[in-house]
Amino acid sequence: MRHGVARFVTGFLALPVGLYLFYVVWPFLQAAGYSLTDWGGYSDRQQFVGLDNYLRLFSDELIRKAFWHNVFFLVTVPLFTIALALFLAFLLNVGGREDKAGIRGVFGSGLYKVIFFFPQVLSLVVIAVMWQQIYRADGQGLINGVLMKIGLVDADDPITFVYDPEPFLGVPAVLWWLLVIAVWSGAGFYMVLFSAAMQSIPKDIYEAAILDGAGRFHTFFRITLPLLRDTVSVAWVYLGFIALDMFALVYIMTPSQGGPNHASEIFASVINFNAFQKGQFGYACAIAVALAIFTILLAALQLRITRRERIEY
């Protein structure tokens, strides 16, 4: 590095790194410290209890339940979001007719892009409040109201959405209904991400494929998808984080924040209950630290598995 450049770079980075250390890294370390105590959260009294909180984790039934619910989201949120986003991106970029100008998206794709992306600009809380009205469990709810009008739902037996703990494919219905919202709100962003990646794939590759007689199905699975591998894999990691969170939706939309009767309990709601209702901050911090370790391992694993030679173009 040339003389002076190092100092210049350091000068610019000092402040943000300092802020980051103080406001992000330091609280992390503090939380890890608290996880070894029995701190209640409202006083300055705390006792060192060693790894007791971590041992307790393994025998906590609620944690076990929350873990499997998070695993459900971990599998389904990335899967459905990426599938939907890829489908939309494909249609918007290369799904249309082919003519002399080459390959293009379906008619009006610019407008669709804006519409699909729109949920991304809304805060998750706004989305949750909006979906509360859509899911409202009586005749005034958007879905129930419409279905009752056309006679598909009995007025005396409305769909209860997030109040329904009955299992569907072995998973409480409330989780499926929350999944719909998560996918709806996430797909737009990844559609844009995949669109950008698709546009960077040279058009001549497609044209060559079409000349060889490949249909849309084959162009997608033989060309687009393999060339998007990197992007998809990163999207998968991001969506994994979102799936491990899901707190806003559970907190705002479900009865008793994780209900009905623990049917939508996730890590974050258990942490919230232990810290803020039970007054066991030490234990809550231990759960949070465990979740953080789990998240980091998962991300590392994911990036490791998908690592392979890139295709240059």
């Binding site: 406001y23 992000v24 330091w26 609280p27 992390f28 503090q30 939380a31 608290y34 996880s35 209640g40 959260g41 409202y42 006083s43 300055d44 009294r45 409202r136 469990a137 009586d138 005749g139 129930n144 007025a155 005396d156 037996d157 409305p158 109040y163 844009v192 950008a196 990646a197 546009q199 990197d230 992007t231 990163v234 990691v237 991001y238 984080f241 491990l244 969170d245 899901m246 707190f247 009865p255 008793s256 209900g259 009905p260 009767n261 890590f267 942490i271 209950f273 810290a275 803020f276 209702q277 039970k278 007054g279 809550a284 911090c285 949070a288 979740l291 953080a292 998240t295 991300a299 990036l303």
Partner: protein, 468 residues
Amino acid sequence: MSVNPDLDRRTLLRRAAAAGLLVTPAAGLLSACAGSTPSPSTDNNAGEKSNDNPFGVQENSAVKVVIFNGGLGDQWAQEDKAIFNAKHPSVTVNMSSTQKIKTEEQPKMATTPSDVVMNSGADMMDVSTLINEGAIEPLDDLLAAPAWDSPGTVADTLLPGTVADGTFQGKFYVVNLAYTVWGNWYNAALFSKEGWTPPKTFDEFFALAPKIKAKGMAPYVYDAVHGYYPRWALMATIWKSAGKQAVVDIDNLKENAWRAEGVLPALEQWEKLVKDKLLLPGRLDHTQSQQAWLDGKAAFIQVGTWLKNEMAATIPPGFEMKISDYWGLGATDKAPNDVYAGAGENIVVPSKAPNKAAAKEFLRAVLSKAGSAKFAELTKSLASTAGSGDNVDDPTLASANELMKNAPKDLISTKFWDFYADLDKESQNLSQELMAGRVTAAQFVDKMQAAADKVAKDSSIKKQTRDA
């Protein structure tokens, strides 16, 4: 997104992913746990103590008051501020109101909290945790202090139950400002038009229900989102049926307390109400269900006396809101006439509050005759100071007043959900499940007993008891 073929996208995205780790849920929750080193508490109440200034409030000091702006609004607190400042013009009252009590106040509790915190609403701090952590101040000296504008001490001016409801582990910690009466609400205008009499027992209700249904109305609607709403009604029925001692035993985690005689039959009434499809279909929250009731979709709703103030904007003309007592089971009832009432809407003074003297003095003003009369006038709810509603002309308040007048000395109250967060959660969940028809009364009893036994055996949970 820029597309630059020379850019190593993989590396870039990878680094972005690593950075993304720091905005993960775990990250946010981790930092939620972090606090800062607490500073020693400073108490600067060096003012002169006198009968007119029993806590020695210092001139020119400031007191920070946080009001919960919920069903009761916050206008009444402005009136209390004026009353306080009339006596202490040099003391600055910094008042703010919020609905997010815990979110905003909990982080400050260990360092520099507000002086007076109205700890109320859905986002309230758990009271037993506050006490176990030594985070709030015992206020026994407030009770012993002379009343603001009436003879005797502050304790003398309070309605029955107010001191007991604020007492934990033998000390008075919590000032409950509003005197709430719970019961079944109905539209008196509609009932007199139809010739219906509000029932006193479940049997009478079950007899009336078909007539209500015949008018195209659901007999009953409830809040399906907050488990503690139906739980009031369930506990009231249990108290009436099984008697006071049964509920005291439940609160004290006595062995097999949930299996006491009278508990199961009380819950079976609710099971029947659900099974007979007497509920308005759907799952509504508190305001949605209250609105459905106001719209005439259901005949009865159970809730406390803050109802009128909460729904003030949407009460249809000609709607005559009245409260009647919770239903009992009839002849077998051990305490058929006991009313569910008590002081609610907690106010606490944090132990580390910088100006505790002024905080207590402010509470003395809140509990004054003038302050409580303003409270009743503005909120149409009774204050916990006696006589607050005497001069308020309101039929709803009058129906609550009347209910209280005919009530015996014992008031229905339940403590276990304040004592133990685990039982609070479990009982809310089970109340919802019972009302949704997914658990039976017998299962409710079994599960509550199991949860109570678990808490009783858990040595890490500090036990509390009630005598009365």
